[in-house]
Symmetry: C2
Subunit: 94 residues, 2 copies
């Protein structure tokens, strides 16, 4: 009846990050931080987790003289996000 929800996605902040990345080609750390209203520390940790799971790809660059972290969703991540939504539908009838 109730399928297990992917624990990596069943986290408010990680879900928000994935949701954002589903709708853009790529996004930088600061933009994600503003959109999600997360603290930098928390975001850093959660991005690392999503990255380790290969749900997102992280590129470290320099924007002028400042470091810049660019994130983008992977195919694995897209599929996981879509599956999560499907699984969730069993919990909430929509």
């Amino acid at each position: 009846m109730f399928k297990n929800l992917d624990p990596l996605l069943h986290s408010q902040l990680r879900l928000a990050v994935m949701s954002l990345l589903m709708n853009v080609e790529k996004a930088d750390f600061v933009w994600i931080k503003e959109k999600t209203k997360a603290t930098a520390g928390n975001l850093s940790v959660q991005i690392e987790k999503l990255s380790k799971a290969k749900y997102i790809k992280v590129q470290k660059k320099f924007k002028g003289k400042y470091p810049q972290t660019i994130c983008s969703i992977t195919e694995t991540g897209k599929l996981a996000f879509e599956k999560y939504i499907e699984d969730l539908k069993q919990y909430i009838n929509i």
Copy 2:
């Protein structure tokens, strides 16, 4: 943009319990346990949390000689569940 998701409902097991109770007038512990495939200990803990938040009402009775725990959703619980779904929609575009 992203509203905070009610932490009481953003838990797989508690969400499953609430989802079940949204669709029935009342349900007993054992039935919920079977439907959710949860362990008794875990279910006991989560039911207590939902009960303390007044999201569900718990009645302890006896069914013949055995104890029986009957749960039902409250109006507060229904509203919280519906709000959770609305908030969640911002994360997953449906």
